[in-house]
Amino acid sequence: MMWWLCIRFPSLMLDSLSIRESTEATAIIERQIVLQANPPAVEKGIKNGHSMATALSLHPELQAVERQINREKELLEHVAVWAYRFSPQVSIDEQLSAVFLEIRGSLKLFRGFNRLFHYLSEGIKKRKLHFYCGLSHNPIASYLISYSDKDPEYYRQSPTKLDSKKILQNLNALPVALLPCRKSVKKNLQSMGLTHIHSVFSLPKTSLGKRFGREFFDLIAYLKNEEKEHRSLFVPPEHFNSSRYFLNGLNNKQQLHPYINQLLTELKNHLRFRQLINRQLNWQLNYIDGGSDSLRLNSSLQVFQQRSLFDITLLKLEQMKLRANIESLSLSCKEFEKIGSYNDSLFQQHDNELLTEDDSKNEKYNVVMDKLLSRLQSKHCIQLSTHNDLLPEKAWRAIQYTDNNNSDPLDGQATPLRPLWLLSKPAAIQQHQKKLYWQGYLQLLQGPERIDNQWWKQRHARDYYIARHSNGSIYWIFKDPINRQWFVHGIFS
């Protein structure tokens, strides 16, 4: 018989957003209904299921935070990955906010249940998560048992045997509302006066199945251990993470080269196995003194070119100064793309024969850009992009280089007449004998175009004119109607 340990997180919504321990009354809401309230909010009388109107009337200062299901899932997955150290059979259930571990096979490794449970519960406590545990022969029974007021230890008859009688006794006493089945089924059960699990267990399964369907029939059989476990197990995410440790530490960058190559080879194998291509390399150097440095490299390569990645890594490494002896080197990758129809040969070094001419050109461009980005750092590689703003100096902007076009559409508006060259800061114009003068006289040709905007930040009011300079150039100048000062802002080609 298996031993399933359930770790149930009753405050998962709050914990996933780290607000359970907040001293401010806070509630997780969805569609204006309170789903979970933290202890200060509960103290103010706020309950799950309250509408926001009621909750606010109880406590006007209540902080409301929208539910984030993804964060809950991430937290469960995080616990599941961690729980692998206790069991190879781990499962998560988002509906029940629970993680399940089959621990029968791990009892020997951990020298008994108590030690295993101690490590496990201490680990969860360290993460500041609110949890309850249950122990039984199957995950759902262990989940239900987690609602009883007994420790998992209570359900052990001997070091190798669970006490089925005690488990059944406690299951019987629980309300049917806890059963993981459809709401309508639970409502039906209650409207027959079947409020506790024992009242359901006492009825023939066939009669129950007839009334509540196959699914419920299976659930009851499963809870009575008459059905085999068929829960799908948690598969950890396909992140890559590998390290090399150096007993006495390395003090020279050169010494790192073979290890860099080794880790890249490992990554290559990882990618090949999964038919993926990475988009980032995250190197981490951990120093003996406890400090660390990170190197993050972006890769736009279509195929895994170990040599190029190695070169780029070294380029980046050259710019770094070692702060102490290196204790370990690790490489991690989180972002991958499916490589689609490329085959294994794409992972072979120096093999670009399968790429078309255009692809090959692009790939060369990508290598150059990757190298430039590594050499100059991404903050020094910029590109121009349009921006949806009425202020001329904000209508264009320099953004960090990306391979995407980040220009804002102009929403069908006619493109206003603008000089290509805008001064970084408008230059004040003098007035000589009532004529505008800036390195020569300016004669107004056309205007004004009035811009008066951004009242919600700092009001910008300007009357723009096109003017001819005495040297023949065409300038874009404006008058500030508030302080009546003139400025040159740009030069037309």
Partner: protein, 1044 residues
């Protein structure tokens, strides 16, 4: 020398009636144009005339010419402005708007160039080229050619120069086209706001319209604030003089004014070969003979003559005849109805059977309701049974056609909550914060407290100052948001209505509304008939039917006018405040007043209804009136004038008209001023004009020797009347229904409760409370049963009522009717029989089971549920041959009493078993709690402990933060008062509880001197000291009636 300022007429302004595009009220645009010295101003909202009446009134008061027009975005990407030159042009534009609106869903329109290719347009057309002109000159030329061929000499090109990029190039392009196609050019402002300072609000409404925030609007924002009304000096610098001069030429051609609208009432109402005057006289005289078959009193004859003369003078005959016709239809269809409103309580209306208020019995004066000085149309509202009003509306549509009858609009405007929500969102506040602010505001708070709320929410506002937010919220308040359907105000015309005012689709299917609301209609002097729905009329009609069924009525139907007048037993019942379910006097405040006011006559009821209103309460008129009525205070009048006004209400002003008359008699208001005051009262809260009259009223009264206290009270009362005032005529009509429903309750309780329960939802009390009250009045209530119940509740005998399926939550009428049909031949003999013979879905089967409707099979609800669940949904129902198939020989335990009660409340909202409080009391869970019925015997000032179901939580605006709670136990009701500090302390208990236990001090009213103490019903309250939520003792799915 200063150059002469050019004359100018603005031809193109959109107001905030172009919803979420314009940023100024029509009145603001017109007033500002007048201040700037414009020769004329146009209101030309997008495919709409919704704002023109307001603009017209403003133009009249500031003496500027108003041009009426409308702008359209055509499907061909052409923007066109039409201006009304004369009445025909106005009607043509109105018809075009109707056409474009009626073929599109609410809020949108659809129009293309071919819609204008009609018989000689009288209107002028201006092609608004600014945004439409493209860089492709060929396309522009094509449009010019098309427009020229349609409008010929009536076409202009509207030029707007808002200081944008490319302006000069665009202008030259326009000039070239205009020259080539001989289209004259004119300036047109494309005005969106009356002053440039409205730019922030302009941007905010744009953000709201585009469902984004201002930071994200980018190029969709107006680049500058130029779309406002410019000074003439600015105009001179912006436009060539010829373009400005052209505006005057166009304005000169636009001679139409709304005053020239000649509204005509439908004439088919008058039979051939007679006049409306003659016909009305004939009907009135016929009616008088029916009303007074023996002898028409002389006073009534002279009253009728006087009224008919006035009606003739004001040419209101058709109006009275139309209302008569509608009421006749209802009477023929046996739809109960009753008129009320300013003209309804006249002798003529009584003779036409529009109203039942006997002029011989009441002291109402017709002149008060049709005023020659006011020159306003009469107002008759007719209430119909709420379940059958639709039949009346369909009759009107049938009779006059949809092209001649339409409902008035209601302009939905920004209220504090929606303003906070929309402005907050537009400024980019977090959604959660916006929700919080809006919700906090709605919870017993006023908009002025927004500032405090913002501080409490610790709004740092990142880049936006809270000050800006507050300012914008304040500006957008009362901005129109969209048009909705008036509750029942019909406009009926002789000509197609779209020639008078545009029509558009309402949200409700097959409903059309006009683009003007009640105020607009009133301002233009059009006649409106309010066809309203009233639940109590449905209840009374049904109750009268039951009385006819069970009483000896000699084969005749028992009707409203068969109810005997001034029945003593009925008034005795009212004096005991036994008025649950009775029309208008069933609220807790009214019930508290009844034992003190002790109504003995119909007129007492008229006063009783009007006195419990914010007006008299805020004005402090209640206690003086009671003291005078009880003889504790002498009734004196400062002069004979006051006595004439206040004599019938013992010197205390109670009705709206009295207050207006007082302003004239006591404060020296002229007729015109009193009329303005009346308008200010009815629009109080919308424009705040009432405060303008404060000084004049108070000073006027002080000058005439009245005390400052009296003057202040009168003014406060005026404020209270603003939103909730009750004119005497309304009160009298309501008093009739209050008396009728009281009489039925007193004399035929079975019929009363059956009628009331069958008209739910309506009134103040839920079925649970009505059923409790019915049982206290000796009516036996039988439970819902699949073999005996109908959809409606049925009166089986005079005092036995069988509950119907309509009570069950989740049961549909059609299914219930199918069930009743299925058992028509024989009753269901078993569950299996029921399943075989009915085809009701699983959800409704469950609903019946859980409501215990199968108890006739001696099966408790748990067993029934077990049985019915055995029928698999996927299998055909006829496979169920016997109950054996259903129960598998399994016997489930029967529910306990408290479980039965809980299920009863969950599925029927009430229980016929023991009251939950009786059960708790029996189980000793209500330690020493006094029963409601025993409170009457306890001395004033004693501390008592009570407990009960919470049936009502009320915080009236007039009660300075006091909360009233009503608790129900097995013997009746307890009234609890919770003062502000206790509310804060017990906030959780008050909000969360369904059952409360309260310890507090008992307060009771003093005995009325000179009256037999045995006949007096003291008013008892408990002032809460200690409050405990004891809902956990019995979890119940009850609901309380919570309101402000």
């Amino acid at each position: 020398m200063t150059p002469l300022l050019p004359d100018y007429a603005e031809l193109h302004c959109i107001s905030n009636f172009t919803f979420l595009r314009g940023a100024s009220h029509p009145e603001e645009l017109v007033t500002q144009a007048a201040e700037l010295g414009y020769r004329a101003v146009t209101i030309s909202d997008e495919c709409s005339f919704a704002g023109i009446v307001r603009a017209h009134m403003a133009a009249k008061s500031c003496n500027i010419k108003l041009i009426i027009g409308s702008e359209f975005y055509l499907n061909e990407n052409i923007r066109l402005l039409l201006l009304a030159t004369d009445k025909t042009a106005y009607s043509q534009i109105s018809s075009l708007i109707s056409k474009a609106r009626l073929r599109s869903p609410k809020g949108s329109y659809d129009i293309s160039l071919k819609d204008f290719q009609r018989e000689s347009p009288h209107y002028l057309a201006i092609w608004l080229v600014n945004d439409a002109l493209t860089d492709e000159q060929e396309a522009n030329q094509k449009i010019a050619e098309q427009l020229k061929s349609v409008f010929q000499q009536s076409l202009w090109m509207g030029i707007n120069l808002p200081r944008k990029s490319h302006q000069q190039q665009r202008y030259l392009q326009c000039y070239e086209i205009a020259k080539r196609y001989h289209i004259p050019m004119t300036a047109s402002g494309n005005v969106h706001m009356h002053v440039a300072a409205r730019k922030p609000l302009q941007d905010v409404v744009t953000a709201i319209r585009l469902n984004t925030n201002i930071q994200r609007l980018g190029n969709k924002l107006q680049a500058n604030a130029e779309l406002h009304l410019h000074s003439r000096k600015q105009l001179a610098s912006l436009y060539p003089p010829e373009l400005l001069a052209e505006t005057l030429q166009i304005a000169a051609r636009c001679q139409f004014t709304l005053d020239s609208l000649n509204y005509q009432y439908p004439d088919e109402i008058v039979p051939p070969n007679t006049t409306a005057t003659q016909f009305l006289r004939e009907l009135t005289e016929d009616g008088a003979r029916q009303r007074w078959p023996d002898h028409i009193p002389e006073t009534v004859i002279s009253l009728i003559e006087k009224e008919l003369a006035l009606i003739h003078e004001m040419k209101y005959e058709q109006y009275f005849l139309t209302v008569y016709d509608i009421v006749q239809f209802a009477r023929n269809q046996k739809i109960l109805c009753q008129g009320r409103g300013s003209a309804a309580n006249s002798a003529v209306c009584y003779c036409l059977f529009i109203t039942e208020v006997d002029p011989a019995r009441s002291q109402l004066l017709f002149e008060r309701f049709i005023s020659k000085e006011r020159d306003e149309p009469p107002d008759i509202d007719v209430d119909f049974e709420h379940e059958r009003r639709e039949e009346v509306m369909q009759y009107i549509y049938r009779k006059y056609g949809r092209e001649r009858a339409a409902l008035a609009a209601t302009v939905i405007t920004y209220r504090p909550r929606s303003a906070v929500r929309d402005v907050g969102k537009a400024l980019g506040f977090d959604q959660a914060l916006v929700d919080k602010l809006a919700k906090s505001l709605s919870w017993w708070k006023k908009p002025q407290q927004l500032d405090e709320l913002l501080n409490r929410a610790q709004v740092q506002q990142r880049s936006i100052s809270a000050q800006l937010f507050l300012q914008l919220v304040d500006e957008i308040l009362r901005f129109p948001r969209h048009l909705s359907q008036h509750v029942g105000g019909f406009i009926i015309c002789r000509e197609p209505i779209s020639m008078l005012v545009p029509l558009e689709n309402a949200a409700m299917k097959n409903r059309t509304i006009i683009q003007w609301d009640k105020t607009d209609i009133e301002s233009l002097g059009l006649m409106k008939i309010d066809v309203l729905a009233l639940g109590m009329l449905s209840a009374i009609r049904k109750s009268l039917g039951y009385i006819s069924d069970f009483e000896e009525t000699n084969g005749k139907e028992f009707q409203l006018d068969n109810i005997p007048a001034e029945d003593k037993a009925t008034y005795d019942m009212l004096c005991k405040a036994d008025t649950i379910g009775v029309f208008q006097i069933e609220s807790r405040a009214q019930m508290n007043m009844l034992p003190r006011l002790r109504p003995q006559t119909f007129y007492d009821l008229v006063i009783q209804i009007a006195i419990i209103r914010p007006g008299p309460i805020q004005g402090g008129m209640v206690h003086p009136f009671l003291r005078r009525r009880q003889g504790l205070e002498s009734i004196t009048y400062a002069n004979a004038g006051l006595e004439a006004v206040l004599g019938r209400t013992l010197g205390v002003p109670i009705f709206q008209e009295q207050v207006i008359q007082l302003a004239m008699v006591a404060a020296g208001f002229s007729g015109g001023e009193a009329d303005q005051l009346r308008r200010a009262i009815t629009s109080w809260g919308r424009n705040g004009h009432l405060d303008l009259f404060r000084d004049k009223l108070i000073n006027g009264m002080l000058e005439r020797g009245y005390s400052i206290d009296f003057a202040d009270r009168l003014f406060n009362q005026l404020r209270g009347f603003g939103a909730y005032g009750f004119p005497e005529s309304h009160s009298a009509s309501f008093a009739l229904l209050a008396y009728a429903s009281s009489w039925i309750k007193c004399n035929h309780p079975g019929a009363f409760y059956c009628g009331l329960l069958n008209s739910q939802p309506m009134g103040f009390y839920a079925p649970a409370q009505l059923v409790q009250d019915a049982r206290r009045h000796g009516v036996q209530i039988l439970p819902v049963c699949i073999n005996h119940s109908q959809w409606d509740h049925c009166l089986m005998t005079r005092h036995v009522l069988r509950l119907g399926f309509r009570l069950l939550k989740g049961m549909h009428r059609k299914s219930a009717e199918r069930l009743v049909t299925a058992r028509a031949d024989r009753s269901f003999s078993s569950m299996a029989d029921f399943i075989q013979r009915t085809h009701i879905n699983r959800q409704e089967q469950n609903c019946l089971v859980r409501s215990d409707a199968f108890q006739c099979f001696n099966s408790h609800r748990y067993q029934s549920q077990w049985q019915i669940s055995a029928v698999e949904e996927s299998r055909p129902l006829f496979n169920v041959e016997s109950d054996a198939v259903l129960d598998d020989h399994i016997v489930l335990a029967a529910p306990k009493e408290h479980e039965e009660i809980q299920w009863d409340y969950s599925y029927t909202g009430l229980t016929l078993r023991r009251h939950p409080m009786a059960l708790l009391r029996e189980n000793q869970l209500l330690h020493r709690c006094t029963r409601a019925t025993d409170l009457a015997t306890i001395e004033h000032g004693h501390i008592v402990h009570i407990a009960g179901l919470v049936t009502c939580r009320q915080r009236p605006g007039t009660a300075t933060g006091v909360l009233f709670i009503t608790l129900e136990d097995e013997t009746g009701y307890c009234n609890v008062i919770v003062w502000k500090n206790q509310q804060q302390h017990y906030n959780q208990e008050i909000i969360n509880s369904r059952i409360l236990s309260i310890k507090g001090k008992l307060q009771r009213t003093e005995q009325i001197a000179g009256l037999d103490p045995q006949q007096q019903t003291p008013v008892v309250h408990i002032v809460a000291g200690f409050i405990k939520d004891i809902s956990h003792l019995m979890p119940l799915n009850t609901s309380s009636h919570d309101f402000h």
